[in-house]
Symmetry: C2
Subunit: 250 residues, 2 copies
Amino acid sequence: MANVKANDRLYQDLARALLDELAQGRYPVGTRLPAERDLALRFEVSRPTVREAIIALEVQGLVEVRIGSGAYVRRLPGEEDRPGFNVTAFELTEARLLFEGEAAALAATQVTDADVAEIEVLVQRIAEENLDPNGTERADREFHLAIARATRNHAVFNVIEQLWDLRATSPEAALLHEKARHAQVKPVVEEHAAVLEALRARDPNAARAAMRSHLSAVLEGLLFATEERALAEARKATQAKRERYAKATA
Amino acid sequence: MANVKANDRLYQDLARALLDELAQGRYPVGTRLPAERDLALRFEVSRPTVREAIIALEVQGLVEVRIGSGAYVRRLPGEEDRPGFNVTAFELTEARLLFEGEAAALAATQVTDADVAEIEVLVQRIAEENLDPNGTERADREFHLAIARATRNHAVFNVIEQLWDLRATSPEAALLHEKARHAQVKPVVEEHAAVLEALRARDPNAARAAMRSHLSAVLEGLLFATEERALAEARKATQAKRERYAKATA
DNA sequence: TTCTGAAAATTGGTATTACCAGAAGGGCGC
DNA sequence: GCGCCCTTCTGGTAATACCAATTTTCAGAA
């Protein structure tokens, strides 16, 4: 069979193929992979190539090779790789509400005029992004990261950057955020501007309040989108049952 | 030469040896490693073994192998591996002050009676740990993580767990925290108890205040220890100069 | 002299084969 | 039934050969 995707070196293809089989649950955690010689036969490659692929898995911590015994599955790919993978969009936004509020407050005590100028530009760019229906949310990200950077605390910055990046890995988050973002076009600009003004005034409490207010709005939009999607799915399920009933009685 | 540390498979020894050479700057970023055949000669191993070692480096993203050309250094080991490595102890504690305060407030709205009972036990264990001069700070860690868990928010929990774990990777943090902890024995127990009481009362504002108060104390102890160490180093430097002067004039 | 392009050298990619060492299992003797 | 030894299986390493992609070299042409 060899479910490989060419254009790569053989060992990489093989590693991917094995990765797929691991992901599909063919070899659960703790079980042993087939012997190298058997894998070589099955995938029609040489044993050195099989070894290279298995070493690639071993370096990634997916399998553990025991001399004279075999290669045993240590953990499955995808999961438990980076911390905090299966986080829901709600949890993510709630955490940002708490943490970014505090970060904004700290930033208000540490910002420089240059920071304020940079953030001002970003607020403008966010406005432009929001007008474009196909716009990205890159400026939005930069806005939040600029504030985190203004805290002059690397730990704070890293945490916030990480929370933002988690949206990409979260299964639902990206979609839901997209929906949530379109549900509230104009207010978003004003909310960002409010944070900017608080920073310019060096007012920690105002900055915290403005940031929390903004993310509360995001959270509400998220809940709205979630509910909307649940309702749509419920309708779809009902519709399917209705059609099935119609067919059965036809 | 082959600066290998036996007791492992050859390819792992070789990978480590190459890693050392990378760390020592023998092969800067962008340069090419020697050809596989040359490495095999130099380390007195076979080419397949060299290939396995290089693949191990490649999987880790340290080198990039180009067919027909060679293996090029992509980045150096150690640095830029995990995010937020070079965070100072001060930044770390400051971040905890901000984030764990909010986590405690959220936890106060979400805790169950079972959570409170668990945390109560941990407060007791922290007291015991503090009495033992050789005690660890395991209970302390569990206490903070239990509160983070009580938020019922995985993102919040992951962030706080990660900040705590960063202490181990931070160069100075562990030592300084140890010093800081011994500088304030009894108050610590009271501070933890105050957080517990706020949780029991389901009072978010009190929980936030208690946690911030506790971590403020830790932060101050940390600053004290930092200053103390700086002074000690200054004295040591002066002493060294004094001895050198004495020798020179002897 | 400079540019072009093909040949040669170099390099990684893969296959084949062989043998060694550690581990595991089964059969034998006690 | 218990324990020891031997067979067998497994990964670890070596040696070698050949292929394919790349890089270099250099001769020939402009």
